[in-house]
Symmetry: C3
């Protein structure tokens, strides 16, 4: 069966002209930067596999610098990673016929079984641009003739700031990346967190609902920066008492008395940008910022790449925060709180896995931010990942 | 991929104009009543999941009455059953954003996260009509604008009779519902039962074959009643000696001497009606009637809903029959005898799972009743369950 | 879903006019002889299942002669093998309604449940021609109106020679049959065997690469014989030192000093013919010949049917070779050496399982023999196995 032109049926796409590309981006947007590993995952000389937007990638750190090549020999298509052979520091040799590629350029430099082949020096395997920053390894998944944009255009503001120290942790979730984005940016879904261990641990407020008084979302669409959508939550109307048939049946947690105090006890805003990354301000605690990516792996899985940032002025501050991350926030927030989001994504996936279901939801007024996000992606996603890119 | 118009390719359907709808009814006929649970399966206050014709349903008994709603929140499509929250007797709340539905109407009565949403009171989830009779819970799987017909139009004659006491048991079989119907209504398949424990247990006759002298099937197609097809077996020619190459190689069991006595020792007739239910008279024993439904669940599974009926005049008779059902017939007949039918369905499924195979069978003269059944379904199935009904 | 006309999309086939049929032959070529069992696998009176080119077959040995029938009752399509009933030596009875077939003709001779059916004697199940030679059971998988060609047209020269004694072993590999053919006939893939236990065991030479000076392949395309392609390897340029970036990083094994001696220490030629069988001369040892078939089972599995032949003049020689086969070559060569080929096929399968990938390989000059093989198959494959043949 030949692959279709897109992953999603054209007839469905026509029905959502304002967010067509978003519906079509089942495997993500191409020509963007994605975080795929932490620096600690790739030691000097180590070869590591990854899959992003359906593409198999192989990474190696050579003299400190990480290189990334397509994990497929150009000759007969086998994966180099099926049996890794690195005879020299800067090369990888295919186990099948000895096609040997240079890590820094992707070029064929030798073929062991055919030493004088004219293919040597003239052909190569695809190379992925890599940036390593804040202990995160980003790869650019894109077309070879597309000029690689600066990383700053694909991360939320503040992430790259000099004083921002980053800690993080990542794991694979069996849902499409888009339902992960939408669960994260949905201000109402807070209802599912009401019994999270984060609430007693941090003595913070957590309402049941969070309704915008009016839509004050700020689009960031300027040249040279990320394309995103911000939302200041502090002015929202918070619901702390849940009623059914007039009776209070469930309660949120309110630990503040005044609006001023609320800012200390609650998140103060969220920001979502391409290619699928959310920033939450003052979360999970005052002074911290959560940056989390939903990196497409396959149609029905994504890498949940969670990081916490804190502005630190000294090595001691950085060490303290690192300790706090691993010994407090990982259990209480990344697992205790975000684990509930993961459950929601798995439930959403059962519905949204069928493309036609995207047209059968019943969005309400409060979901407007989600529609704005879809439209933003439609306008600014640089290119669609298509079946042919996997072929 | 958008769902096709039907589950079965149009080119195949064109080849069987007289039973086109039957071939197309891979997931059953819509706008009919189906039994899905026994009364004992749904206690007061209990919420129970079921799947019928591919639709996920949630049931709850409130003040004795069973209600059924579609198990999908209208908002983002998640299943309510992923985490059941019933804060009041007559409502169910979606775990995700607190959309709360009334069991008796399906209407949204509250949204916990958005207390004043205009959606409240104006939208609702699909409600399924429910009838509970003879300790069986029937749901009507149909279009909301289709006038719900009386239950009597979807059950075999006698089932609803006042003196008919019903006992039963149900389980899931991995075959399409149609191959189950055809195995059950096939008079020849009796060959597979020749070593069933039912034969020694009941001292009844069981031939190897059962050939109609002439076709005396009676169609029931009158307004207001079930649409079905009856078959009196007593006049058939029974085969008790199986020959291969002239030699007797296998024998049936004949416990009667005269035709009169035969009526005491054998089933006396079968009746099959829409939406896929078989009645067998004087089976598994004189004076008992088996009613068994093959309720579509998915394309390749059905609920085998077996009931035995006995006309009882007193509570004592009913108690005795109930005891006999659980302590004799369940093991000897439902498992020992019908278990062989289940094996046959699983074998048939391997063939008929491919739609084009329906055109490659070699039916013989004695299979005429099956063709009549297919044609009856074509004429009287109220509507086809289509991919869009699952969406 | 109706099956498509071929297993492979027409748009792809159009792109390879010179080997179109090969790309289309995902499930093999029809109207050819295939080995499927060894004589030892089918004892007198035993009924054995097999699957070839997607067709389910049932075999029985009756008075020494092996018969093969399609494993599907013509009546309702169930598999006879779901419950085997052989009441007489020369018949098999369907467990469902007692349709009884003769092993030697396939004809219906009795129907237990319907003793006087007009179907008896007039209809039958498909019969497969069988040849048993060299302790190998071959079946002809073809159209009933196709005149069965002689077995000699579907085996490599020498296999049927009177003095050729054959021993063998077979198992299922999860790859398409075509990637197995191509791995076997690929002179360059020898690189993967450099650490095989066969090398020290036989003290033979094994280069890393094997480059043809010029293409001396001989096509065998004459009437009445197999259609194949031969390759004398002795004149090839052998590579014994593998270099990367100018440095020797891996070495082959060279145990000979002169070209004359090389012929004693190396394979001397390979021959590949339809329907997918490779002969390797002087392998795994001087004086032995390997004949190995890649018999299509499903789209993604084949039977790896390996045999070794030795010209023997006496029973004692035959006994000695048989002992050597089971106690030396099975472990050292069939598992130790060919097991490496199996790994290569599994890797190739991940790539070539997608039909469009056949157009994305980068073949080099040295792969010309593979292209010649594809073109030969295109010209001489007798017929394509199509979806309808499985229906």
């Amino acid at each position: 069966m030949t692959a279709a032109a897109t992953f999603v049926d054209e007839k469905l796409l026509e029905k959502v002209p304002r967010w067509r590309n978003y519906l079509a981006a089942k495997l993500g947007f191409r020509n963007h930067w994605y975080p795929i590993l932490f620096s600690r995952d790739v030691d000097e000389g180590q070869v590591v596999k990854a899959k992003v937007l359906g593409e198999n990638i192989l990474l190696k750190r050579v003299d400190g610098k990480v290189h990334a090549l397509k994990d497929r020999c150009i000759h007969r298509g086998v994966q180099l990673s099926d049996k890794i052979e690195c005879y020299t520091k800067n090369t990888i040799t295919c186990w099948y016929h000895g096609f040997t590629y240079k890590w820094d350029t992707g070029q064929v430099c030798d073929i062991i079984a055919v030493p004088n082949s004219p293919v040597i020096g003239t052909r190569g395997v695809k190379r992925y641009p890599v940036e390593e920053v804040k202990n995160v390894i980003f790869v650019f998944v894109g077309d070879e003739d597309f000029e690689t944009p600066a990383l700053v255009t694909d991360v939320p503001p503040f992430f790259l700031d000099d004083d921002m120290h980053i800690e993080g942790y990542a794991y694979v979730i069996d849902s499409n990346w888009r339902v992960a984005c939408e669960n994260g940016f949905d201000a109402l879904h807070i209802y599912i967190h009401r019994e999270s261990p984060l609430v007693p641990n941090t003595q913070r407020s957590l309402p049941l609902g969070n309704v915008r008084r009016e839509f004050k979302h700020v689009f960031l669409e300027a040249e040279g920066g990320p394309k995103g959508l911000g939302d200041a939550t502090v002015d929202n109307v918070m619901t702390y008492e849940g009623r059914v048939e007039g009776k209070v049946v469930v309660r949120g947690t309110k630990m503040h008395a005044t609006p001023e105090e609320a800012k200390e006890k609650r998140t103060t805003g969220t920001f979502m940008c391409l290619p699928g990354v959310l920033r939450v301000d003052n979360f999970p605690y005052k002074g911290l910022t959560q940056f989390e990516w939903y990196v497409p792996i396959t149609e029905d899985s994504h890498l949940y790449f969670i990081t916490l940032g804190k502005r630190c002025q000294s090595d001691e501050e950085r060490r303290d925060f690192s300790h706090e991350f691993w010994h407090r926030w990982k259990a209480v927030s990344l697992e205790g709180f975000n684990g509930q989001d993961v459950q929601a994504r798995l439930s959403l996936q059962k519905f949204y896995a069928k493309d036609e279901h995207w047209l059968e939801e019943t969005l309400i007024r409060e979901d407007k931010a989600l529609v704005m996000w879809r439209e933003l992606c439609h306008r600014h996603g640089r290119a669609l990942q298509l079946p042919k890119h996997l072929a």
